[in-house]
Symmetry: C2
């Protein structure tokens, strides 16, 4: 438990960022590792955050004309093999189902029944292009069936040896959009549209500023013609790729035979896209906003906006306090903010007030309210905001409190975004020679380096070899992102080779 002089989370970000992250996840009760290698348990507070992400994203997908559907968990090996680059990208890290029965073994325990071997191994989906492609090839017959705009909410598995809760786990939850179009232009437009949806969601809901744009060839999704991503900066100045949108050309349509009859009665392969985002977003929220006292959640996605609890002094006026809290909570729940009623947790557990306070601090609830006998007598409520220091409190009159709390939540949502944007911009720098780049990453703590690059894989590889950094994206419209953005579009000379470069790219270490 934190004392005056200490922080609630130990180590602090400055002391050990990676361990701080794990401790925040634990202290906020978001998730935990499981006895199953690489798989996490998402606990109620973490899952509620994911549900809020899901609900809002789902609304955005539906508003852009997409419909949800559900496809099999298993992909026959032969399906995965249909697109050569694709299978090469996933073969090394997939869970393979080979049998369909256990029987009693000679020792009494259960063993895999050798008689129940599958004719063809099934891969637990790492992504669903090939199995959805099989369905699309049936659904798409004529240009009238296009565009086909589908999304799936599902679990996927990519076998990972080194895992980190939310950021990299063998099983994770995600959504994957899959669309088919009659023309290249329309498919490209869809790819861009969904990239924009992700960017809007990240900024307006997660309060997490992002750069968006195409990845380089080496960072493309296996089988894609072009991959776009949104990239955010975490508080350790590393980049987090938080959503990707792929233009798949006709690669997967050819692999899965997604063909349609045109108006002119010719036959053509469809143009497809896919786009995904995952429980990794929860990791992004944690690392963008939280501090050394624990989780901070943007109010717009918070599992609860407000926690209220009583502080009793003996039995003095106990009943009155409880009534006061309950009528206040009811009034707060009648407030609609961002299209849903405020979520209020009334915490009546019989534990010490200090313990309770710190628990809600660590869980990141935006507004905390303690009600004691003096509050009741004075007709006030004592309010603490999670974006201020834990001991900073404000007295509001009971009558004005609901409206003011609403305003506090809106202010906090804006403030978290502005703080994160400032942090990102403060740690984004134009770097013009290779020695400065070395200093930037090795001595000065890194961040987003804006450098000129000649477009070759060789120059790109040097960033990785020398600094473990990669080109995160070729940011679109950077001039709208920040003051430094305008100069990103000026031509220059590659920081590695001195060859001409049409514009700057973003180089950073990443998750």
């Amino acid at each position: 438990m934190a004392k005056n002089e200490k922080t609630a989370i130990s180590p602090t970000r400055a002391e050990d960022y990676a361990e701080w992250y794990q401790q925040v996840v634990r202290a906020a009760d978001l998730a935990e590792t499981s006895p199953v290698r690489g798989c996490m348990v998402i606990k109620p507070w973490g899952y509620a955050l994911w549900e809020n992400i899901q609900r809002e994203m789902d609304r955005m997908f539906k508003a852009t004309g997409h419909k949800n559907a559900y496809f099999p968990l298993f992909i026959p090996k032969s399906f995965l093999e249909k697109e050569a680059e694709h299978v090469a990208g996933f073969a090394k890290e997939c869970a393979v189902v080979t049998h369909h029965r256990l029987i009693e073994g000679p020792g009494g325990g259960l063993v895999v029944d050798p008689e129940a071997k599958l004719e063809e191994p099934l891969i637990v989906r790492p992504t669903s292009e090939t199995i959805i492609g099989a369905a699309f090839s049936q659904w798409v017959q004529s240009y009238r069936d296009l565009p086909l705009l589908i999304n799936q909410w599902a679990n996927v598995v990519r076998w990972e040896l080194r895992t980190r809760l939310f950021l990299r786990t063998s099983e994770f939850l995600w959504q994957e959009g899959h669309t088919a179009h009659a023309t290249e232009a329309e498919a490209r437009q869809e790819t861009q549209q969904m990239l924009d949806v992700y960017a809007t969601f990240a900024e307006d809901y997660m309060a997490m500023p992002v750069l968006k744009g195409p990845k380089t060839a080496s960072e493309r999704f296996p089988g894609a013609v072009e991959t776009f991503a949104i990239e955010a900066m975490m508080q350790d100045k590393k980049a987090l790729q938080a959503g990707t949108s792929h233009f798949l050309g006709q690669n997967f349509a050819k692999a899965s035979e997604i063909k349609f009859q045109t108006k002119e009665e010719t036959f053509e392969y469809a143009w497809t896209t896919s786009w995904g985002s995952s429980t990794r977003l929860v990791g992004g929220i944690i690392m963008t906003h939280s501090d050394d006292d624990g989780l901070i959640v943007p109010p717009r996605l918070a599992p609860a906006h407000i926690a209220i609890w009583p502080v009793f002094r003996g039995d003095e006026g106990k009943e009155k306090i409880v009534e006061y809290i309950q009528s206040f909570a009811r009034e707060l729940r009648d407030i609609t903010l961002w299209g849903r009623p405020l979520e209020v947790e009334v915490d009546m557990r019989d534990i010490r007030g200090g313990e309770k306070q710190w628990e809600w601090v660590k869980k990141g609830v935006p507004v905390r309210i303690e009600i004691g006998p003096r509050d009741v007598d004075g007709g006030v409520v004592t309010v603490a905001r999670r974006d201020r220091t834990p001991r900073e409190k404000e007295n509001l009159s009971r009558a004005e409190a609901p409206a003011k709390i609403r305003a506090i939540l809106e202010d906090m949502q804006r403030g978290l975004f502005e703080r994160a944007r400032k942090f990102r911009d403060d740690n984004t720098r134009e770097v013009n020679d290779y020695e400065s780049l070395r200093r930037f990453f090795d001595k000065e703590g890194g961040g987003f380096a804006l450098v000129h690059w000649d477009g070759t894989a060789e120059s790109e590889a040097k960033f990785k070899d020398d600094f473990k950094a990669t080109i995160r994206c070729i940011a679109q419209a950077p001039e709208r992102a920040a003051a430094w953005g305008e100069r990103m579009l000026e031509p220059g000379k590659c920081i590695v080779t001195g060859n001409p470069s049409p514009r700057r790219v973003v180089v950073a270490r990443s998750y």
Copy 2:
């Protein structure tokens, strides 16, 4: 396409019920089989129905204090083995992950990498008692941590050889509740509460009347002390088990070491429950309400409540018709019914009106509206209800139409329930001797037979051997279900042995 004299679905229910079911699923575009053995693809219209089921159930679970969480897809073999009856129940039908990598084979294709064999096989969850139990054993330390009320929305896999869309598939979607309690009484109360939630959902939302009560020992969930179920009657008079709630006693707590310190500082095993319902509910909706023209969906769960389309006569007043439709659709969407805005599909596709009409009939949209030039001129709308014959239409004045359509939807919801209840009651009969029971199942089409039973497994087995029928449940409070219910509670003599029977039970063939 249906003609006057023909039905839209062939065969009809009377001709071949099982095939009629498949054809309704196909004609309504709800789901299809996939190239992966036993796994289905849930198409947008079917998935939207499932989403509506999920949303409403989830609300009911949360209102009764449950929180959602997420646990691993994989269960280590040793976990499944912890509860002996449990593993015996699932070992024969489980998908086993044995390897975590594919490599290039000698022939060029990919093969399972023998070097990447898992130390312990992982079972794709058929249900999650054991893996959730492992988490609960950590989460529960003190009586203060109880009750622990968790729900999970997930996919599960039970290897099936004979599958039927929604009713029996190897992979299906479901929710599984898992709770832990300090006392037996509280756990039993929870088991009953969730059974009641399922019954309320089935009747109030699905418009599907159910009987509820304990199953006999032979029909219990593997490892449970007692299993309760809701049972509905389909139009072929077979029973559908549509949700189960299990009192697990301390069996799983002992297997998973879920122990807590009591107020008295002793240590005790917790009392646990689990309860589940699945995409099988979609099958229940289809088989309860649909007719020989296709799907009928209760309006409260319908993916869309209303479909509207124009009927043009050449170019005459085209623009006016489109405007009329759009303003009318806007007005309908402003109506809130059962807590959400009406969903309106405006169908502007360039296909023949007759084809369009039949498509919406087959998809089961509750209200269909065609707008032609005469409707616009007369200021009326022509409305057809899915619970009437396809050609029955009503003219409503434009001004009154929104309120009347709302009333039609409410009336349809009630009417579907009443019709289903009457069907069930008409096909429920007290049967008092074994020859009559034989006649009931073999000659008279079967249904729910209310018979006296002596409580032995031997007598129960005879129903299965002789009629492929089982005891569906020992209905609770049958006197509230129907007129015949009151007499169910009178004692009598077992229909098999003549031994004393305290009350009647429900015997039926089932899915």
